[in-house]
Symmetry: C5
Subunit: 355 residues, 5 copies
């Protein structure tokens, strides 16, 4: 069982809450910080290395997107926290990447945790990565565990000014990021769907012992998808509900759209589940059908030859007084008898529909 | 697995939301636009080719029904959107025909997405097609993917003035269209029901290996029905709820009627599900019963002949000093012994109820 | 699969809603109309043949019960509808007897649809019949499909003035009719319960192949019961809720009582379901136990005789130099060896607990 | 199937509601009526034989507990009803002891129906008895079907004045009675738990055919427990809710305590259910394991001896020209060959892990 | 079945509620009482032996934590109850350690019952211990059954003043204690997860009969976890809800954090459940695969040798007139025939894919 399924302890038992303990496995050498600051007219994009460099952007009236990739630098996270007024528990949740997707409203900012999913076609493995978003009044901070191209298209839209993104606020930016993540779920669904299609083919034409293993593996990979999607639904529905002033009404329509997609993902995942469990039934019944066919051949062969062999045995006995043995027609008569018995049994089995 | 079960990505990942990307497979050469404009006295019906031709109807105080068949012409959809004041996300949902049934209230108009289902008796396949409805204050726009005769009867009623349709408003027209769609669900249910009836017959009289496949296929086709119907229920119940002024009170009674039918569809689908799963059990137990019967024959034959063959084997041994061999009564005595053993075993098996 | 499980289309697809299409199979030659008009002092009971004859009763201040049996006369139903001010959809639902139980409040009258169930002891079949009730301010109209004696006792109580029925209003009459219907559900439950009891006996003592069929049949008949009862619960609970002035407070206590019975029916039906599914498990395990027992006999017989037969075969070989063959003790020694082997195997199997 | 699982008809179909029909099987010769009348200072306890004797107690300001055991005297129940102002439907529910647990608020009194459960260690049978309570402003009337000692301890506490019971009102008395009943549920749970423990032992060490029957029986007995407990939960939660003035605030804390116990009973029952269903799986897999082991022995024996017997058969043929037969080493060579084959097969099976 | 799964009776049936009956099995000789009294500046920590010694701390304005380990001293519990104004039912629940986790608000104090879980790696057993907390306005009393180090880290943080604990109130202390308990749940999850991982390995590589037992055992241990966690969720969610003034707003954020962890525990437990049930399927199918493989070998061997042995039997018959026997080529011809038959069957089986 991959460790993906077990939630490891949040912090060393006994540490005070809010202690920042780095996640053990790190895939990055350095944390990367990128700022995009834009409004309808201007756009500034810059790699920064310290939190201090971000502060002018934070204070500007334009939309500021700070993208943090890599979470191993506890000091940097701590400084970000104090400069942007984040609660210590938020920081703890940020660096501990085994959170359940959730939405927390801290009045001055929203804290959103969701899962980015990727499906590796090679290993047929669903992997998840935690994306944390801080949506403040004029800034969005996104935290990713590993570099990746999920947000490349959003970035491109900001650069080229395509669509509405440059003319709308930070809430639209947050929406666009979440939308990009949910869009990737469909890629995962497609990957799983293709795999299931293959298995379905295999089950019908050539079920082997490993088919069962594959069916169970696809089921397990789907667990991860469900685990990420069910709470996501609540998160997105929470964003769409009125009550926070950080999401404006025009953006709510877009959030509702993401909500629809989330439901579609769930729906499709459920359908796939139903199909996979049907697959399992088909596999088992197909295996047992093959076994039955083999057994039937044995049964029929044995049932035919057992009486014949018995007759041969009888005439192989060494009694001195067996009158049939000395007659000329004895041997052909016995052979004929055997033939009749065999034919009779064959006819009987055919009638019964066993052959 | 038919692609019907997988929701494909909404748009190329990374495109801004609201981008209109044509659905890949198109079944029509040209988009067809038909206008019906009527009130109690007058009726005008016309094929149009541009959006501009529709505008006078839109502005008239009469009921206007614009029926769009085929969704490949993105420009036309875009123009319709701007002329009728539709939200870009609505247009995106229109052309992407893998939406989940839903109802959205945009104050000035309602946006309804539902699924039209057809059951092909030949291939025994349930197919779905997306129907999108825009219900404005004085117009209804319907979008279908493929030409078909679902709305022929509604059109006929408008032409002949039968029933209430000419004297009532746009909300009644929208109701009539949805009602026509839901009515077709019963046709699908009947088709599935007949198929299940056949399978039931087959399971009891002549279960073969392909029966299992058919049971699984009927289960899968029913998945599509459920997938279309469950959200439909919410849509229709949403239409029936007070809260939108676009549906008037007298029409609500009719909507409630459609709601009842939706529930009936769901109910019947659940009943069919229960029957199919009972069918599967019956099939499996019937297959295993047949196998058991075959095994029983082998068991009984083998159990009877095994000791007899052993006795024959004993007297086939070549020991020089086997006094029985030289006696005259030896052979008939052994034959008699064999007969007694066989009879004894037969009686034993009969008593045990194994024969 | 009996057509009972499939809901057929409400009306020919495409007809305007509210069109009255007669139900296809009719079991009555003529529609029968009976009026009972009563208050605490007076009672008038009369067979009528036209709607016009009923009108004086409708207008009287006394309680009027119009009982319509048979639904094939569309004209009569239409006239009743216009004389009593019924909505066209109500009339459609009346004559289409495949409605789901429901309660509709049309302000001036309540429209109630429930199912009357009967259990035929001969064919062991649950049949349903639709009962529609119109509860107006001073009248109750009941529509039944077939003549039957369900309401005989209520009628008798009105005639003899037993109980409270003559001193109370129309709402109490409606309650009494529904109560009579729900009372019959217990008869159905008893019938099913007796059947299940029999099957239980059969499963334990003498499971045969048809047992499985019976278990499935009882399961199917129970589907119908559930299908009728679940929505009934909502109907009765709706009647008991405050909100309509047609049901008076003292009668609400009686309605609550019917509600309790409905819950009891559901409860018992669920218990029966649990028992039946346990029955299925017991049956399958009992069948497999019997099979196992048979196989065990074969296994043991074969396992004992196979080595013995092999030994006999060895000494049946025709080698010229087999020194054992010429010894006097050879034959008894081999027989003894065979006995020892057989005994050893028997002891081994006994020890293993296989015999 | 014991009649315990079927709810028999409430009254003869057609009788007016409120008709008092005695329950058929009666276990008591005479109804027993006991009055306890007490406050902090005084206590009067008396067996009475007529309702009239109870009336002075009813009118006194002290707490009055009237305990009725046996329900066959319809007249007495009727008189009690009229003297204490009970609704006719309450009387009907009292004497019909197949009610579902329920709570009804008649403003002037509360009507509570719950089930007393007993577990008979001998027959391993859960039996239920209906307890009906009327909680009026200054009196509690309890109706039991059979004499029993469930309330002995409560009575004792009243007599000795232990605990709070003498200083508190009628609502506390009602609570004490219900508490005594729920306490007994734990006894039933313990009985079932011990049984399940035994079965668990049996399944692991010595599964026999009757084990299956026992597992099913324990499942069935648990059905009764669930049937009594689920509605009980609603009853107790209803008593704890504010809204009725008959339960005072200090007593509500005690009611909440009973509620906790009810939940504990449900919880434990669910846990037992899970364990029993695991038991069934273990049993089935253990039976099939044993069968497989037996089959394996046959398979291995047969697979070893079949080729050997064939070889012996070959050299048992009577051809005149079989050169091996006349050689001196022929016999030992064939025996050696047989040994090699047997050893080879044994090694093969061992390697495969089949032995 | 361990007694852990059965809730034993709360008190001897019939005792008045609030009677303190000691739990039967006691693991401690003496009850240990420890007081920690602190604010931001001062800290006093002391072992006390009587309730009287605690009273000065109770009355001080500082935060007071009284930790009681061991519940056998009924007198001491009773005295604590009266000195701290606890309701008798609270005392009863304290000493009866089979409560379901719950939260009760007595206005002046909150009463919290939760379960501490430990997983013993050796015996692979989940054990639970009841923790009861009384959260008063200036004190927290915790009751544990057995000594243990769960709260060691909290105590250490108080001593060293690390984190916020010294500067915050009693509600933060209560939060810290509950947080410590929930943190331990992850340890249990990890232990179970590791076990499941091992089993998964075993199922795939070397399934033995005991694997089934282990799968069932891990399932059972997980029952306990679920039983503790589901109600815990309600408890923590209740603490987070506004309504009680004993939990201040800043602490609510921390409570929400614990709530998230509870949900994570539940989530992971559900995932493990899914994995275990998949494991069971895999095990069963793997066992049946192995059995099938064995059967296949028998089938194939038997099917090949049965006809060959028959032929040998035919030529072993002792008829005087069997012309083949005297020909020179008879023996090799028969051997060749046998070879051809064997080869033919082998080819047939290979083609069928049975080998």
């Amino acid at each position: 069982m991959a460790p993906r399924f077990i939630v490891r302890r949040r912090h060393k038992v006994g540490l005070p809450p809010g202690s920042l303990v780095p996640v053990e496995v790190q895939t990055l050498d350095r944390v990367s910080l990128t700022v995009m600051d834009y409004d309808a007219e201007r756009l500034e994009e810059r790699e920064v290395s310290t939190v201090a460099e971000c502060l002018p952007f934070r204070d500007s009236p334009t939309v500021t997107w700070l993208d943090v990739v890599g979470l191993q630098d506890m000091e940097l996270v701590g400084e970000l926290g104090s400069q942007f007024g984040l609660h210590p528990l938020v920081l703890e949740d940020l660096v501990n990447t085994q959170q359940r997707p959730k939405l927390e409203d801290f009045q001055e900012y929203l804290f959103v945790v969701i899962k980015m999913l990727t499906f590796d076609e090679e290993s047929r493995r669903v992997d998840d990565e935690q994306l944390s978003l801080i949506l403040g009044p004029r800034f969005v901070i996104s935290f990713q565990e590993r570099p990746g191209d999920t947000f490349g298209a959003v970035r491109e839209r900001i650069r080229t000014g395509k669509g509405r993104i440059r003319t709308m606020g930070v809430d639209y930016l947050a929406y666009a990021l979440i939308d990009a993540v949910v869009d990737h779920y469909f890629v995962v669904l497609e990957g799983l769907g293709d795999w299931i299609e293959e298995l379905e083919e295999e089950v019908v034409t050539e079920p082997v012992a490993s088919t069962m293993q594959h069916i169970h593996r696809v089921k397990r990979e789907m667990l991860l998808l469900r685990k990420a999607t069910w709470p996501l639904r609540e998160v997105v529905s929470g964003l769409g509900r009125e009550g926070t002033s950080l999401i404006t009404t025009p953006v709510r329509i877009y959030v509702r759209d993401v909500y629809d997609h989330t439901i579609q993902v769930l729906d499709t995942a459920e359908t796939l589940r139903d199909i996979v469990s049907g697959l399992l039934d088909t596999y088992l019944s197909s295996v047992s059908n093959r076994m039955n066919e083999i057994m039937k051949v044995l049964t029929i062969m044995a049932s035919i030859f057992i009486p014949l062999t018995f007759i041969a045995g009888v005439y192989g006995m060494n009694f001195q007084h067996m009158p049939e043995l000395s007659t000329t027609w004895g041997y052909p008569a016995v052979l004929a008898l055997m033939g009749v018995i065999a034919a009779g049994l064959l006819v009987y089995f055919k009638r019964k529909g066993w052959m």
